[in-house]
Subunit: 244 residues, 2 copies
DNA sequence: CGATGCTTTGAACTTGCTCAACCCTTGTGG
DNA sequence: CCACAAGGGTTGAGCAAGTTCAAAGCATCG
């Protein structure tokens, strides 16, 4: 049923996530609706952007996942992070002409270019917040790689992806779309594919997760968050305070 | 002899590094000279900034080193990166009111606040470039933690710090100031202090480095860079091409 | 000259890696 | 409808890199 998402679904994803960053005016929403009408389709395993390449305009992801990667001489590969639907590649590019990493599609994606200049203030604010969140994700990734063990790394990553998918409305209760292979997970978490496999099995046996056919269910996210010390990234000062 | 650096030395450091980002006008230089005249002195092990705290104005480092850190519940600690003389903490803060990490001084530092708004365009450009470089450093750190082994992590970090110290004019030939304890190195590289110690010794035995009394000498930086696959971060498109 | 903080050393241990094979599913072409 | 290829996932056995714990050495600085 979910083979080719409609334009409306694509738009909803982007709009939901941008609005989660910062409220959007009707004009801006109309502009997005127009932009989304002619999406670019990208096949799996294609470079959306190459390291060192000149960055032109921001590219919004409407559906599908991508990774930021670098390849070493000897074949080792590092995944720096994931790019999910609703998120924007190279959101703030005014003073950063060169791409710092290659971006590769993991599955079939649809994207759309955003205007590179003369952007409405609300959109520009949303993109800037997105950028700040991205830095928070890089920091979280450093913490994972530097100080967490295999289980913790995977769980912590799952929890991050979960909250990010929630932002664009793709979280379905405790189940989420999950198109990552064990190899990609390994390159992200600094482990080997074999060890990722064994760790996932252990997590399944413990009843922490269910993972099959591109879907991941976290049985008790709160408990898992507690276990690995996961914390939501907070970039805004004016975020709603609990029981304020 | 280098007990208390003069105002001129402090200024030189900041000016050199900012000018390396983007050329500065005479007016801007004069402004910096004024700002530097009354530096803030910070003792070792003090928080310059706390995670979650509201960010007010950019803070330029005139001398001394700091680290971006996070502490886990169980005492594990991760160092996300280093802040060196000439560099600016929270350079671009317009849409990022909350500090993402705590910043702690490693030794005695002197700093000065920069204007938070109404900044000249050249300075603002320099800070934006500095910000882009910082993202490059985060990415480099992820690569180190994810895919390099102990030797490689340390060497790669040394090479990065070397080029950064060069930017602010603190590299003296093949020797550089190096105020990091093995514990801090461990928290940065995701290793234990004990293993950092053994790895350093091995590097000394192999004649790769000399490290004593707060100074580090890399015997053959080019060879080391080759060995670990170190590459200088490139953020500008218009950087001079070799043999152009 | 005692205290404090940093470095060095040893021995046992664990986590995660390597290599190599096998299995299962899915899609494709004959 | 079957054969086969390709891309993931699973398994086992041996191994290596890095950890843990604990103690001792060595500076530097009041």
């Amino acid at each position: 049923m979910n083979g080719t998402p409609s334009h409306l679904q694509l738009l909803a994803c982007l709009e939901t996530r941008l609005a989660a960053m910062s409220p959007l005016s009707g004009d801006t929403r109309a502009m997005l609706a127009r932009a989304v009408r002619h999406p670019v389709i990208v096949k799996p395993q294609r470079d959306l952007l190459r390291e060192g390449q000149q960055v032109t305009a921001p590219l919004a992801i409407l559906s599908g996942w991508a990774v930021r990667v670098r390849l070493l001489e000897d074949g080792r590969r590092q995944v720096f992070g994931f790019l999910l639907p609703g998120e924007v590649i190279c959101g703030r590019h005014q003073f950063r002409p060169r791409a710092l990493t290659t971006v590769v599609s993991l599955n079939r994606m649809s994207c759309c270019r955003l205007p590179s200049s003369g952007m409405p203030a609300d959109l520009s604010q949303a993109l800037a917040m997105g950028q700040a969140l991205e830095e928070a994700h890089l920091l979280a990734h450093i913490l994972r790689l530097g100080r967490l063990n295999a289980d913790e790394r995977l769980i912590d990553l799952f929890l991050e992806l979960r909250t990010r998918l929630d932002l664009c409305g793709l979280l379905e209760g405790d189940v989420m779309p999950f198109p990552l292979t064990q190899e990609v997970l390994a390159d992200a978490t600094g482990l080997t594919q074999v060890h990722v496999n064994r760790t996932l099995q252990q997590m399944r046996r413990r009843g922490d997760i269910e993972l099959t056919a591109g879907r991941l269910r976290l049985l008790d996210p709160a408990k898992l968050a507690q276990r690995v010390g996961y914390r939501e990234p907070r970039v805004m000062t004016d975020e709603p305070v609990v029981a304020g």
